[in-house]
């Protein structure tokens, strides 16, 4: 695949993930504002999340969208502000995507299972 085709494909995935994230972030912000009233505790968080498969599905999808969206954005910044080559920035993006996916799914598993 040519470099231009790769860029176009990454742009597409960046925008598709952004559309998903727009929805997720609105729900997440509302949840944050609701949840922090009166302080946060581990018991309070886990009571809401443990064995809740809606939470697992929602935040699982949230993690996937983050793991797509964040690395592509960082790769473009690395190219434009740090002068990285397209090849290097895309390789970095793959590593960041994998790290975010692993850490994110681990976090979802930790609070749901």
């Amino acid at each position: 695949m040519s470099a231009a085709a790769t860029q176009a494909r990454l742009w597409y995935w960046q925008r598709i993930s952004a559309m998903m994230l727009a929805l997720f972030v609105v729900v997440h912000l509302a949840t944050i504002v609701y949840a922090v009233r009166g302080g946060l505790s581990g018991a309070e968080i886990l009571a809401r999340t443990q064995d809740n498969w809606w939470v697992a599905a929602f935040y699982g999808a949230f993690v996937i969208a983050c793991a797509v969206h964040v690395p592509i954005g960082l790769a473009r910044i690395a190219e434009e502000w740090l002068g990285w080559s397209g090849r290097a920035s895309n390789a970095g993006a793959v590593l960041i995507a994998l790290a975010l996916a692993v850490l994110g799914f681990r976090a979802v598993y930790a609070v749901v299972a």
Binding site: V33, R37, G39, E80, G83, G86
Partner: protein
């Protein structure tokens, strides 16, 4: 910016754009900068956020001790800042989607105003919830 993205690290042309102060005297440039800086900050925070939640694997007490550690004014201020940045990045991102996917209607400065407004509103809602 899209052109500089296509040509990648071709330094000279990007440097000319960077030094053009006329481009910076424009709300859309500040909207671009706010979107980018908020994105970097959120990207830096995300692994930490996942790691803290992952502490629940070691039991409720482990998660609780981290939450108690974070229950300090400095951390609360940081959390407030992240909520504001998330609201800014959300609205700024919606503006980009509107510019790119809806019929062209200028740089959508109304969305730049909405970005600032929702950043403030999100910050106030979070601050009030913390107090309440």
């Amino acid at each position: 910016m899209s052109e500089s993205a296509r040509i990648g690290a071709a330094g000279r042309r990007i440097a000319v754009r960077r030094n053009d102060s006329r481009a910076r005297r424009h709300p859309a440039w500040w909207a671009f900068l706010a979107h980018r800086v908020s994105g970097i900050a959120l990207a830096a925070f995300l692994p930490l956020h996942f790691w803290v939640l992952g502490q629940a694997l070691r039991g409720e007490a482990a998660l609780d001790s981290l939450l108690r550690f974070a229950d300090q004014l400095l951390f609360k201020f940081g959390e407030w800042g992240l909520v504001v940045l998330l609201a800014i990045h959300l609205t700024g991102g919606l503006r980009l989607l509107v510019i790119e996917f809806l019929p062209w209607s200028g740089l959508r400065k109304n969305w730049i105003a909405a970005t600032a407004g929702l950043g403030i509103a999100g910050g106030l809602a979070f601050a009030l919830a913390l107090i309440g």
